[in-house]
Chain length 697, copies 2
C-alpha cells in the first residue's frame, strides 16, 4: 500500500463551503451518523458550527435533515420529514434540496438520501448557497449503480493481482488475504458514495480456486469489507464460481437442475446472509474461463441463473449473470460465423424466463469494450428481462490509464442512443439509459405496442488499485467519477461532469487548470479513436495485453475479432443480404441503417461492411485517406494535449503534475507507434500513397 | 517426477550383445568402475560372464582394458596398455577398438575413453563382433561437448520451470530446491555419457535471483549434482549472473575493472572449486535479461570475460561467454540497422583479446535458431578466439517437440559448411566443425595465409524435462542423441545416426519400425520449413511462445526480426550495395554469392534480398508460387508421415506409439494452420492466385 494517497475528488478543501457554515444534522440511522461525522470534521476545519440532533433531542423518530445556514452567525431550524429512516441503500435514495435566502436544507426519507444530499451540496460548493430560492427533489435514475472489482485474492499467474488492472495491486487484498488495515478501503468507499455508487462486487468474476473460498472459509473477510462499505451506503456483492458445489462442496456436479446442487446453494446462501444480512448478491460469469457452466450440463443461462436466484431470493439477494458469451472456437477461415451475434443468439430466446431477482449483465457492444462499437442489440431484445448495461471504467482497450482518455462522452453517447429512432432526437422512444433503468418515458415498442422494462441498472469494472493516484493516470479518476454520476443521472452533460470533477479535485485552482484539463480530455476519446483502429473495425491490439498496436494481432486467431484487410479493402460484412446477418439483430430503423453502406454512419462503417480502400465516406474522403488523416491528426492532437497541459501543470500539486506529464509522454510515444504501424500496414497493403505525401514507412 | 520413465536409447536389451559374452574389465579409475558395473549388470541379465581385474589382481597400475570374448565359453586375455589412468574427462578420451577372430578389446589411455569405448560396443551391438579383424582408434573431435540446461530452480513467472522447455518440469529442481532423489539425474547422465556429452551446465543462463545463490548458499546442491555426473565422466558447469557481486556480495558495482569485484570473484572461485574440484566453469550471458553487464560500465565483452577467466584459471575452469547480443532498441522503421549484424559488429574487433580459458559461445545463425539461417559470420571472423558453435536441441522454433523434426540433417549441413569454399566440396578449407574443434585440416585463410584455430567446441540447449519420454515427443530423443554423436564426430551421416538411435531405442523391433521412423524423420526438417516461414525469411511465429504462426508477429516490434512484406514483394535487403551490408560480413566467396539474388541460394533468398512476389527462383518457380506450393506440400508431407507411422505404430510399446500419434495429430493441425495463415496472408497481400487453384482463404 502506498503511504501517500491522493485525495481524488474529496480533498479537505472541497468541504470549504459547508465547513464555514453552521450546520444541523438531525435524525438517526447509521448513514446519518456518517453525514454528521463528515459535517463535524468540515465545520471544525473551516470554522463553522455543528449541531447534531438525535432522536430524543426534541427530534421525532422520523426526522432526517441536514440544515445549512448561510453563515455561522445566523439561526437555523431543522425541518421535519415524516418518513421512517433505515440504512437500506436499495430503499428510496432521493433527497429534497431547498434553498431559502441562502439557507440550505436537505431532507431525505432515508438516511442514504441524506448522504447523497450531503455530497450534492459538496459538489455545488459555494453555488449551493448562491442564487434564488429553490426547491428540488433529486433521485437516482436507478437503484442499481454497481462497480465490479476484478481483484484476485492471490496474484494470478496470468492476470495478476487485478485482472485488467492498470493501477497497481488490489486495495482489498495483499499476499493472499484481505488487508488487515482497511483505512484505504474506507477512503475508497467514501469516494464512491460521493459519486453515488451503491453496489460493489469485491472480487474477480473469473473466480479462481482461492477466491471461491470467500464464500465459505474466508467469509469472515467479506464481513469485514462489508462493514466498511456499509458505513457509506454501499452493499457488497460476491463473485462466485458456478463450479462452487464441486470446488467447495465436494459434489460431483454443478448441474443447476441437480437437487443436491440447488440445496448446496441454499445452505450456502443461508450461511452467507446470516453473516452479512445486507449482502447485495452474487455475480456469476456465464461462460467463465474453464470449469463447468450450465452448458456443460446441457442447461441454459436461465436454468443456471434461476437456480441461484432461488437460493438468494429469501434475502432479497440478486444474481448478476454476466452474459459474456465468447465463442473460443471460431475459425477465421469461416466468414459466416460471427462472434458479434453470439450473445443475442443465446439470450434472446430466453427473454421472460429469468427470475425477478436475476440481472443479466450485458456489455455495451457486441464485442468487447472497443473504442467504437454499435450498441449491443441484446439491450433492445429482452423487454421482459432485467438487463444491466455494462461499461468499462478500467481502460482495457482505451489506453490502460497510460493514455488520457475521458470516457464520459462515449458513455453519454451510448446512454442516449435510441434503438427505435433514426436520428437521435427525443421522440419519446426509450434511450439505452431508459432500457437499463426502466424509468424512461413510456413509448411504443414496434414489437409489443407498449413499452415497459424491468430495470437492470448499470455495472462497470473499476479502474482503481493501490496506486498513489488510485487510477495510475490521475485523469483516469475522472472516468470513475463520471461513471458514478452518469449512473445517478444518465442525462448529465459529460463536460459539466468534468467541471464538477475539476472543481472538487483542484479546489481553488486558477481557471487555467480547468481549461487545461478540458483541453486534454474533451476530445480525448475521439483522439484515441483517431490513432488506433479506424472506422469501428476494432481489435488491432497486441493479443494478451491489449495495449499497443498489432494490426493483424487477432486476424488469424479463434477469437472472432477480424478485419479481413486485403490489398483491395477492409471490414466485416455483417449485413443480412451478403454477410453474417448481425445487422438484422437490430430493430428498425437501425437494422436498415446499418445494412447499407450508404446509410451506415462512417464511424461504424467497417464494423458492418467490407469496402474497398477507395470507398468514399460521407465525409467525402476515401477510406484509405481517412485512415492516414486520422492517424496523423491523432498524434497532432496528443501533441496539442501536451502543450495545453504544460502551461497549467505548474498550477497543481507537483506530484499530480509530474505523473500526468509522464503519462502524456508515454501517450505520445504510443500514439506515434500506432500511427506508424497502422499507416505502414495499410500503405504496404493498399499501395495507395498519402495524398499529402507525409512520412509513412 | 513421472514414475515411469522411458529408457530412451539405453533399454536393457541394448546390452544384449555384450551381456551374452564373457567380459573382463581391467584397470582402475572411477569410470572403470562405472564400466564394470554396466558390464556386470548386462552379463548377469543375458547370461554372459564377467571378470573384474583391479590393480593388484595381476594387473599393473596402468591397465585400462575392456575385453569381450566372442562367446562366454571361450578364453579371453586382458591386453595391457601403458598409460596412466585418471578420472579426467578433459584428458585424452580416445579408445582403441580391436577385433580379432570375433574377440573385441577396447583399450584406453584414460578411464573416460574406456567408458566411451563401452558405449561404442553397445551401439554396434552384434555388429561389434561380426566382420573381419579390425584395429581402430576413436577419439572425439573436441573435448568440449557441452549441453546447457535452461532450468530454473524456481518456476519463473514468465519462463516457467525450464526456459524454452517443452518437456515438463526440470529433472534437477522441484519446488525451489535440487530434488532429493537424483535417481533420474543418474539415468540422464548415463544417457548423455552414452552419446559422448562430457560437460553440462545445470541452470538457466538467464540467472534469476534464486539461481544466483547456487554459487554461494546453495553450493551444496551443486556438489550433489556434480557427484552424479562425475560417475559418468561429465563435468558440471554453473551459469552465473554477471551481477553476482551486487546480488550476493553486497558490492555496489559489478564493473569488471573494479578491484573489489575481481577479488570477490577470486574468493568465490576458491570456495566453489574447493567444494567441486572438477567443476567445468561458469557460463555467462553477455547481454542477459535486465541487470548490469559489462556495457553498463562502459567495458567490453573481453573485459567482462577475462576478469572472470582470471578468477577460475587456477582451477582449469572455463568461462563460456554467451555472445548473444540482442538489440532491443531496434526500430522497425529504420531499415539501415540490422540485428543480424550486431554480434559480428561487437565481437570481431575483440578477436585475440580474450583469455585462453574463455570460450565465446555463438549461435549458429545471426538471428535466433530459425529453421533456416545462414551460418553466423562470427564463426569465421575470430581466428584467434575460442568460439563454440551453439545449436538448439530444444525445438524452440522448430515445433517445440510437438512436431516431429529431426535436426540431424540441419546440424550436419551447418557443420559441413565451408566459409571459404563456394560449392561445399572438400577443398581442404575448414568446415564450421573444423572452426569449432580446431582440428580440421590446415588450410589457407585468405586473411592470414595460414589456418590455425583455438577450439571452442560445441554447446546446445537440452530438450529434456521430467516428461515420461524425457523430451515430450519420443522422437525428439533422436535430436539429443544426434547432438551428442555429432559433437563426437561432426562428419557422421545423420541418417546413419538415426539408424543407431532406432537400433538402440527399439532393439529387436522389425525393420518396419526403422523404416517408419525414417519415413517420419528423414525429411522432417525440410517439411517443417515448407509449412512455416519461406525462403529463409524467418520469424513468422507468435511472439512470446514462438509456436504457432503469426506472419506479422514480429514485424513492427523492436526485436529486429522483420520480413517487410508489402503488396509487391518481401524480404530483407542485407546486401552491401543497397541494404544493411550484412552480406559483407562473410569472407569471399560467400560475401559475393549472398550479395546477388542471381547467385544467392533459393533457401536463403529472402534472408538476403527483398524481391517481388513474381521473382523467379532458381527452381523456376515464382516466389509466390513457391510459397503456395511449399505450404500445400508441407501439409501433405505431414499426412504422409502419419500414414507411415500408423502402420508401424503397432510394433512398438503402446505408450510410445500413442504419444507419437497424439503429437503427429497436433503437428497436422498446426501445419494446416500454418499453411492457411501464410497462404492467406500472401494471397491477401499479393492478390496473385495460386496457379493450381487450391483453397486459400
Amino acid at each position: 500500500m502506498t503511504e501517500v494517497v491522493h485525495a481524488a475528488w474529496l480533498p479537505d478543501d472541497a468541504f470549504a463551503a459547508i465547513g464555514s457554515r453552521r450546520v444541523v444534522v438531525a435524525g438517526d440511522g447509521a448513514l446519518t451518523g456518517t453525514v454528521a461525522e463528515e459535517v463535524a470534521a468540515a465545520t471544525k476545519r473551516f470554522g463553522g458550527g455543528f449541531s447534531r440532533l438525535e432522536v430524543g433531542d426534541g427530534v421525532a423518530d422520523a426526522e432526517l435533515v441536514l440544515t445549512l445556514a448561510p453563515s455561522s452567525g445566523e439561526p437555523v431550524e431543522a425541518l421535519v420529514v415524516s418518513t421512517t429512516s433505515a440504512t437500506d441503500p436499495t430503499a428510496d435514495e432521493s433527497f429534497r434540496f431547498t434553498r431559502e435566502a441562502g439557507a440550505v436544507v436537505v431532507q431525505a426519507p432515508n438516511d442514504a438520501g441524506l448522504l447523497h444530499g450531503l455530497f450534492h451540496v459538496v459538489r455545488l460548493g459555494e453555488a449551493a448557497f448562491d442564487g434564488p430560492d429553490a426547491d428540488e427533489t433529486h433521485a437516482p435514475a436507478t437503484d442499481l449503480r454497481m462497480l465490479d472489482h476484478w481483484d484476485n485474492v492471490y496474484a494470478h499467474p496470468t492476470t495478476g493481482q487485478v485482472e485488467r488492472g492498470y493501477s497497481g495491486g488490489s486495495i482489498f487484498y495483499d499476499d493472499g488475504l484481505v488487508r488487515r488495515d482497511l483505512a484505504r478501503v474506507e477512503r475508497y468507499a467514501r469516494l464512491l458514495a460521493a459519486v453515488g455508487i451503491n453496489h460493489v462486487a469485491i472480487n474477480n468474476v473469473n473466480v479462481h480456486e482461492h477466491e471461491a473460498r470467500l464464500l465459505t472459509d474466508d467469509l469472515g473477510d467479506v464481513v469485514r469489507l462489508a462493514a466498511v462499505f456499509r458505513r457509506w451506503g454501499i452493499r457488497v456483492h460476491l463473485s462466485v464460481s458456478f463450479a462452487s458445489p464441486i470446488l467447495l462442496g465436494g459434489l460431483s456436479t454443478a448441474d443447476p437442475l441437480d437437487q443436491n446442487v440447488a440445496h448446496w446453494w441454499v445452505r450456502v446462501a443461508a450461511r452467507v446472509w446470516g453473516a452479512i444480512p445486507d449482502l447485495g448478491g452474487f455475480v456469476v460469469m456465464a461462460d467463465a474461463d474453464g470449469g463447468p457452466d450450465p452448458f456443460t450440463y446441457g442447461r441454459t443461462h436461465a436454468d443456471g441463473a434461476n437456480m441461484l436466484a432461488a437460493a438468494v431470493e429469501p434475502y432479497d439477494g440478486l444474481i448478476h449473470w454476466r452474459a459474456f458469451v465468447r465463442d473460443h472456437r471460431q475459425d477465421w477461415r469461416d466468414r459466416s460465423t460471427d462472434r458479434a451475434r453470439t450473445t443475442y443468439d443465446h439470450l434472446r430466446p430466453l427473454d421472460g424466463t429469468f427470475s425477478d431477482n436475476v440481472v443479466v449483465q450485458v456489455k455495451y457492444g457486441p464485442l468487447d469494450f472497443q473504442v467504437r462499437e454499435p450498441l449491443s442489440p441484446v439491450l433492445a431484445a429482452m423487454p421482459r428481462t432485467r438487463v444491466a448495461l455494462e461499461l468499462q471504467v478500467t481502460q482495457e482497450y482505451t489506453g490502460q490509464q497510460q493514455h488520457a482518455v475521458y470516457l464520459g462522452p462515449q458513455w453519454s453517447q451510448l446512454l442516449g442512443f435510441r434503438f427505435w429512432d433514426p436520428d437521435g432526437r427525443d421522440d419519446g422512444s426509450p434511450t439505452v439509459a431508459d432500457l437499463a433503468t426502466g424509468r424512461g418515458k413510456a413509448a411504443e415498442d414496434p414489437g409489443t405496442g407498449t413499452w415497459h422494462k424491468p430495470a437492470g441498472g448499470f455495472a462497470a469494472v473499476s479502474n482503481v488499485g493501490d496506486d498513489e493516484f488510485w487510477t495510475g493516470h490521475p485523469f483516469a479518476q475522472a472516468n470513475l467519477y463520471a461513471y458514478g454520476r452518469l449512473c445517478w443521472d444518465p442525462t448529465l452533460d459529460p463536460g459539466a461532469v468534468l467541471d464538477e470533477w475539476v472543481g472538487l479535485t483542484f479546489p481553488g485552482a486558477p481557471d487555467a487548470v480547468g481549461q487545461a484539463v478540458h483541453a486534454v480530455l474533451d476530445r480525448s476519446w475521439e483522439t484515441y479513436e483517431q490513432y488506433t483502429a479506424p472506422l469501428g473495425v476494432g481489435f488491432m491490439v497486441r493479443p494478451d495485453h491489449h495495449y499497443g498496436p498489432d494490426v493483424d494481432g487477432y486476424e488469424y486467431t479463434p477469437w472472432g475479432a477480424y478485419h479481413f484487410a486485403d490489398r483491395d479493402g477492409i471490414g466485416v460484412d455483417r449485413t443480412v443480404r451478403t454477410g453474417t446477418g448481425y445487422a438484422g439483430q437490430y430493430p428498425a430503423p437501425w437494422s436498415a441503417i446499418y445494412e447499407s453502406p450508404s446509410t451506415c454512419p462512417d464511424a461504424l462503417l467497417l464494423f458492418f461492411h467490407h469496402v474497398p480502400y477507395t470507398h468514399v465516406l460521407h465525409s467525402g474522403k476515401t477510406v484509405i485517406q481517412h485512415i492516414y488523416d486520422t492517424h496523423f491528426e491523432g498524434v497532432s492532437q496528443v501533441e496539442a494535449m501536451i502543450g495545453a497541459w504544460s502551461a497549467a501543470s505548474k498550477l497543481v500539486d507537483p506530484r499530480v503534475s509530474e505523473r500526468v506529464s509522464e503519462r502524456l509522454a508515454e501517450q505520445l510515444r504510443s500514439a506515434t507507434e500506432w500511427r506508424d504501424q497502422v499507416n505502414t500496414y495499410f500503405l504496404r497493403k493498399s499501395g495507395i500513397p498519402d495524398e499529402r505525401g507525409r512520412r509513412i514507412y
